[in-house]
């Protein structure tokens, strides 16, 4: 029996169209737009001004608080201006626009492909390097990694779980990274273990990626500190709480952090970024992005400079198909539909999905037939049909009692509803309101 989480979960069509495509470099764009808020927490503060010359890897915005992250230039050139443009949320966000000139890197960065496996660093030195490099969670949540490595007082990490699940349909960036950068990911994993002072790590991978499982198992032969855990394919297994449950059987308490059960979860992409940050002195200036869709000419995995406009990637993947109806930043279950093609790739962009017009429209909503599928697929043990109704009727008390704040917005309920009800839309609304009410009560 393969491990997986309980309760709930779904298994949508995987559509991993780009799984066999090696990671390519699409070329450097003419202009990049680097938002100062690419992570959870306080936005970073720009330290360059209009007209400044910058190199690749140069700090351009420094961390704006404890939960925040440094941001570095992903290109060399001149700062054109500091302005706002719409990002994937649809709102205009502040960012730094840089006109590209050449490709000149900071001298301190090791840009070779050579593997640097050895290290002799203390926990503090590793965390410091990660902080400097502006590494954040690359699975999509973009929580600053260095903050995760410093648990709150009284709590101690016991295990590290590296997330190679990639449960979102279509996305293959983590899969490709595991196949092409397995050694680097393992070094990154060891660095994270050292930083957290733990001696056990698990790498969780779903069994639809047998090649990655086999390769990593082969690489860790002899060692017993890192263990590869093969998981049954089930969405949302890449969710932090679900992955911990699948690997350890433990449930993170309602409203609590993974550290409450002694676990810290990091994405494989993050482990790779940690390797580069510590061993290569390379800040987080590029990431792997899957560009895919049923009508896309060449579904691809690209190594992309942060700040590259989405349009550049779409062109590199064979151009925009005629029948495109919706463009999603991220996967089809949790990604955001973007409003225009100038939206930049940020640290949290794992994929760009082009959906056909016929796939893009929602179907007509009819009455709830109380089939209870939303209840049985909810990985958090909630009652989505009820939370939707109370949110729709603005009954925030019952919404809070129904533990609406535990919703992880995985979308399994809306996906599965045979009446096509907009369950998650209303639950999101309710979460926003209930969150506000709870904060007001506290203050």
């Amino acid at each position: 029996m393969l491990k997986t989480f309980k309760p709930g979960g779904i298994h949508p069509a995987e559509n991993k169209l780009s799984a066999k495509e090696a990671i390519k470099v699409p070329g450097i764009p003419k202009t990049v737009f680097i938002p100062v808020a690419q992570h959870i927490g306080a936005p970073s503060v720009p330290v360059v001004k209009r007209g400044d010359s910058v190199k690749v890897g140069q700090l351009i915005a420094k961390s704006g608080g404890f939960v925040s992250a440094n941001i570095h230039s992903s290109v060399s050139g001149k700062v054109k201006k500091i302005d706002t443009i719409p990002d994937s949320s649809g709102y205009r966000k502040q960012g730094i626009i840089i006109d590209v000139e050449g490709d000149e890197w900071e001298e301190s960065i090791d840009t070779s492909e050579n593997l640097v496996g050895q290290f002799n660093l203390t926990s503090e030195e590793i965390i410091n390097a990660i902080t400097q490099a502006g590494v954040v969670g690359l699975g999509g949540a973009t929580f600053p990694t260095h903050v995760k490595l410093m648990p709150p007082k009284g709590m101690k990490a016991e295990i590290l779980i590296v997330n190679g699940v990639e449960c979102e349909p279509y996305l293959t960036s983590d899969h490709r990274l595991m196949l092409e950068k397995a050694d680097e990911i393992l070094v990154g994993t060891r660095l994270l273990m050292k930083a957290m002072k733990v001696d056990k790590a698990y790498i969780g991978i779903e069994n639809n990626k047998p090649d990655a499982i086999q390769l990593l198992k082969q690489k860790i032969q002899g060692g017993n500190h890192i263990e590869i855990v093969t998981l049954k394919v089930r969405y949302p297994q890449g969710g932090e709480k679900q992955l911990i449950k699948a690997v350890t059987g433990k449930e993170v308490p309602s409203g609590g952090l993974p550290i409450a059960v002694g676990a810290v979860v990091s994405n494989v992409g993050t482990a790779f970024a940690v390797y580069e940050a510590v061993q290569k002195k390379k800040p987080l200036v590029e990431r792997v992005v899957t560009v895919t869709g049923k009508s896309v000419g060449k579904p691809s995995n690209f190594k992309v400079r942060i700040g590259t406009p989405v349009s550049v990637l779409i062109n590199a993947a064979g151009g925009m198909p005629e029948d495109t109806g919706k463009i999603i930043s991220g996967g089809p279950m949790m990604g955001k539909a973007i409003t225009n093609l100038d939206v930049p790739v940020t640290k949290g962009t794992s994929g760009i999905l082009l959906m056909k017009g016929s796939e893009s429209k929602r179907k007509k909503t009819i009455s709830c037939i109380r089939c209870s599928r939303c209840v049985s697929v909810c990985p958090m043990g909630l009652e989505p049909y009820l939370l939707q109704t109370v949110s729709e009727k603005q009954m925030w008390g019952p919404a809070e009692e129904g533990n609406i704040m535990d919703c992880i917005e995985c979308g399994s309920c809306s996906y599965t509803c045979p009446s096509n009800r907009p369950l998650l839309d209303y639950i999101r609304l309710g979460k926003g309101k209930v969150g506000q009410i709870m904060r007001t009560r506290k203050s």
Partner: protein, 327 residues
């Protein structure tokens, strides 16, 4: 690019399943029992089913269009399910106009008066059936004999009413045993009764299909059948001359039909597995109580309707376990 992009919140994909597909799976699951009823009761079986289905669809359309003044929704297939279930619950020789009344009550009062699909508290087909049973007791309980029996009679008693009469007249079970069908006949449907209740095995077949297709879960049918079996078993152990054996109880009357097709109705049954088990046990208890001590020989319809009424209460208490809730 001239086309505008569609922007909507996640998720951006859908399971492709629909309420309509679920309803048609239920219809498909009832087909074996329907075909068998035609085999057993002749063309009359088809006549009753056709009238009931057509009437349910027609009433749904007319009431929505002219009384509720909303856009009629009859394509969801739920009226077809109600129609077939209603037909399954009446004798095959029921006059057409009684069927029409049943359909009107089922759809009009049982379903649309609550607001239509998904909002009804009681199983519409059972509302119709119980209304007819109370209003037309003679027509609703004169059962045509099966074609296979070869007897040239018009009506016969169902095994349960034969048993009830006998016990009331002071006879013991062993004295009555000769007049009762054996379990094999009951299993394969070689006996009198309502259209859809005659063959236990074909109903089980339909139930298994729905289980595989995830239209239903095991909780409700297993809880109903289990509690019928256990409670009647306890009575049987106490006095086998007064109380019939539990296998007979499960195979007769509408227990199988009720447990698999009526109690599992999504709209009127609880949302969680835990709740469905409580609900199913309640149905079994009430069914056996009515059969044993009540005025009617059969009790599953009343039992399901009573437990339908308790469903919202069950939903309030039988909550799913919160992830990380530690209770």
């Amino acid at each position: 690019m001239s086309n505008l992009l569609i922007v909507s919140p996640s998720p951006h994909i859908h399971s492709e399943d629909s309420a309509q597909k679920i309803m048609f799976r239920v219809v498909l699951a009832m087909m074996p029992a329907l075909v068998w009823s035609v085999f057993v009761f002749g063309i009359d079986g088809l006549r009753v089913t056709f009238i009931a289905v057509a009437a349910c669809i027609a009433f749904e359309y007319l009431i929505q269009r002219f009384l509720m003044k909303v856009e009629p929704v009859i394509t969801d297939g739920s009226a077809i399910v109600t129609g077939i279930l209603l037909a399954f619950n009446v004798p095959s020789n029921l006059p057409w106009w009684i069927i029409l009344i049943g359909a009107l009550v089922a759809i009009g009062i049982g379903k649309l008066s609550f607001g239509g699909l998904g909002n009804n508290i009681f199983n519409p087909a059972l509302v119709g059936r119980v209304f007819l049973l109370i209003s037309f007791p003679v027509q609703m309980t004169s059962w045509p004999v099966t074609i296979q029996s070869g007897i040239d009679a018009v009506t016969s008693a169902t095994p349960l009413s034969f048993l009830k009469e006998g016990i009331k007249n002071g006879k013991s079970i062993s004295e009555l045993a000769g007049g009762l069908p054996n379990n094999i006949d009951l299993l394969f449907g070689n006996t009198g009764g309502s259209l859809g209740e005659v063959s236990a095995i074909l109903l089980i077949l339909g139930g298994l299909y729905m289980l595989v297709k995830k239209v239903i879960t095991w909780h409700t049918p297993v809880a109903v059948l289990g509690s019928v079996f256990i409670f009647s078993g306890i009575l049987w152990l106490i006095n086998p001359e007064l109380y019939i054996n539990p296998v007979f109880q499960i195979l007769t009357g509408g227990v199988m039909l009720g447990a698999i097709f009526m109690a599992t109705d999504m709209v009127t049954s609880p949302m969680t597995g835990k709740g469905q088990i409580i609900y199913g046990i309640g149905i079994g208890l009430i069914t056996i109580s009515i059969r044993t001590w009540g005025a009617y020989p059969e009790g599953i319809s009343f039992a399901i309707l009573l437990m339908n009424a308790v469903t919202p209460l069950i939903n309030t208490y039988a909550k799913p376990k919160l992830f990380g809730g530690y209770k």
